[in-house]
């Protein structure tokens, strides 16, 4: 590893609504920073190639791969992980639907899956199943076969749309 990667960089950001200041190696990935330095272990490192989506977190309102972004790049950013999204209740309907529909088995993909699902639903409307499936194609699940996940997201989309109309 070249010295550049081990250079330390000062960053200041907001994580789950709390201000964080840290000094990180330049080569530290965002997901490792969240997991190792902040103890936020909800996002998981799995493929480490940006393919599987298990590390998905929300950065400045966007669903982002925690394994493809460096912590240094998050300087000044507003980062939300599954822990913060659980605490503030913003995905509670999705979480309840995932539990009710058993849209998770081992749970390893679930935090990333929920961030991706929230990203889709926050765009508004009630996406159809094909759209939901397409949106989730960056998030692998090896246990469920996806159908239960699609069901759960579809039910929340409908409930949110109906609720909005009422």
């Amino acid at each position: 590893m070249t010295a550049t990667f081990t250079d330390r960089i000062d960053i200041a950001l907001t994580v789950n609504g709390e201000e964080v200041e840290a000094r990180v190696p330049a080569g530290r990935h965002l997901v490792d920073f969240l997991r190792l330095d902040l103890g936020l272990t909800g996002a998981h490192a799995s493929c480490e190639h940006g393919v599987c989506g298990a590390c998905t977190v929300r950065v400045d309102g966007q669903a982002v791969r925690g394994c493809l972004m460096l912590a240094a790049q998050a300087d000044g950013a507003d980062v939300w992980t599954i822990e913060g999204l659980s605490d503030n209740g913003s995905v509670s309907d999705l979480q309840a639907a995932f539990v009710a529909r058993n849209a998770l088995q081992c749970g390893f993909c679930t935090p990333g899956m929920l961030v991706a699902a929230a990203d889709l639903l926050d765009a508004g409307g009630a996406p159809d199943r094909a759209t939901i499936r397409e949106h989730l194609s960056g998030n692998y699940c090896r246990c469920t076969g996806y159908e239960a996940i699609v069901d759960a997201i579809e039910s929340v989309a409908r409930a949110r749309t109906d609720g909005g109309a009422a």
């Binding site: 590893m1 998981h44 393919v51 599954i82 081992c106 935090p111 246990c143 239960a148």
Partner: protein, 793 residues
Amino acid sequence: MNSPFGNPNRPNSYIGKTVPRPNAKRLVQGRGQYVDDMVLPRMVHVVFVRCPHAHAKITGIDATGALAVKGVLRVFTGADIAAVCTPWVGTLAHLKGLKSPPEHAIATDRACWVGEPVAAVVATSRAAAEDGAALVDVDYETLAEVTDMMTALDQATPVLHPEMGDNLAFQRRHDEGDVDAVFAAAHTVVEAHFQTGRHTGVTLEPRSILVDWNPGEGQMIAWHATQAPHMIQVVLAQHLDLPESRVRVVCGDVGGSYGIKVHIYPDEIATAAIAKIMARPVKFIADRLESFTTDIHARDHEIWGRIAVDKDGKILAFDIDDWTAIGAYSVYPRTSAIEGNQVVNLCGGPYDFKDYRAKTTVVFQNKTPTSQYRAVGHPIAVTVTEGLVDMAAAKLGLDPVEIRRRNLFADDAYPVVSPAKLRFEGLSHHASLDKLIALMDYDALRADQADAKSRGVVRGIGIASFIELTNPSPFMYGIGGARISAQDGCTVRMDPDGSIVAASSVTEQGQGTEAMLSQIVAEGVGVLPSEVRIITGDTQSTPYGGGTWASRGAGIGGEAALQAARALRGAILEVAGAMLQCAPDTLDIRDGAVVDKADGADRMPLGELGRIVYFRGDTLPKGLPRELVQTRHYTPADYPFAFTNGVQASYVEVDTDTGAVKLLNHWCVEDCGRVINPQLVDEQIRGGIVQGLGAALFEELHYDAEGQLLNGSMADYLVPMAGEMPDMIIAHIETPTLESDLGAKGAGEAGTAGAAAAVMNAINDALRPLGGEVTAMPFTPERVLRGLGKLTD
């Protein structure tokens, strides 16, 4: 004998109902605790230096550069580890003739596949250990590699392990009847060559272990992502020279396993050895390249199959010649011969015929070892069997459904012994097929297919019947000499507040083991499932048992839980009878309260009984038993295995210009006996199907002729994504096993067993009118175009 769980109005009727999983809420909040989430004081990280060659002599290791990296503490060679860790041999006595040389945790003088560990670097951080590993200078002298399965036994091919004499690891032949004579006289004979692609399980959580050795206590604790904690306990103790009682294996949340995490891996045992040497916690988490090069592979088979039928399509005989290459070592302790052995056992499984010959030839090669992955051997056997059945039907002009109806074991034929000498207690092939045909509306689908054809759209329907091995008795591993328990136990206790705790030796990897146990215990005792807390995955605090593999958790672990819960119920009622001055058999427990059995009138909440027993035992008659902790064990004894059955159907569309296959719909009707939690069973089937669909269309590990893995990342090795998968319609027939009160058989592998075969038959149904056929998985666009004769170079 079964208990009457069929009456939905019985008290405490939780068995057979969908109840929520107690652990799901925590997981959706990101509060799971997987091994990599754990941090211990003084913990260090190990990273392995891995052989870049398929076959090489290790002539020197220079760790100077690595040791100079800040944070690197130690570098271990194979010899360093061998000083504290004995090698193992992956054979079992009942697999006669199986041979494999001793395998070390870290290669000592020779490495036999790309990815085999040759050194270990320990550092204070994972990053430093990786930096150090890159600087370990290993000198290799490359050796001739064996990479082609079909020439592995040729005279001209080098012998991979000279001391073994040849490259043959195992061979088994099963002969029943006079196969040659039957084929010679048969009205119609069809033969074909099938291939299943070498693939792997791709657990999203990579293999993970954290081991601490505390010399002060003389105890080793391994936090391990595993399916079989007690098996790991035995192996660590045996090879690190510790008493079994001084090894504790803890299995918390596991991020997917599918059979990948039920084996002994050299790097994991080396991690434990290093913990013992350094006397501090050592963590190993495989990265994704390591997952692809060192997780067990599976399904690398070539099969030549023949079927003989009479003029009416009655199956007369199967003749199967299976070949598989298992890598450089037979995997310890379950071996790498079970998969081929299963192909011999399972071909022709659903059908009533007489003459059967099958042979498996298992060879060594310089690739990643293969072993048991979900539905071990089943997808291969089902593909060959169902492929041949469809080809025979086509040759006779019979509908695929009709030929199955003429040959499946009759639903009233049981008990029966198959030509492969499998004993079936009770299956429901015809009822399952009838239900499938109704579900998919077969005639309407055929009409849709014809309508599509008239529009130039090529569609096909494929059907695959199958059997699945579940609830294995000691005949699976125990008789071969392995200390792998076929028995499971459950301890159920009532605490003073009337709540229930159940500790079980079967483990949870997401299937819903804890939910299943909680509803069985709730029904058995008479409380709400939410009042039952479940403990699994700790060799120190649960009864001894096998764990969760081979679709055994519900059938074996569930029965132990039911018996323990009923025993506790009896113990509670004995105390209640003394307190209420009435006969215990006039009382019942419902929804957490003691009631009159006759009219359900409330007598006493369990919390009150708990208060008296635990804090005012002086008020109870002296000598009254008050054992509110009960343990029961269960192991199947009447049958070696509880076979289940099912049938799947696939509807596909083939683009004959691009070769792309689109999955339009998928159905499965299966019979796992008593369904304990319908939702969880359905989701096991769906998840299993999708792993089978991956095998059918996408998944294959590619090697070059030098034994280099070419697609070791998730970007290159394709697994099913949400956008490509169909919705799946699942239904059940219930034929409970009569061996247990619960009546449950396994459901974890049925989906995987039959999905790929159904897709193959659907593609071939689509291609047949065009003169095309495919039999080599995965059915990539290229292979479909070749099957159509559109690509010939």
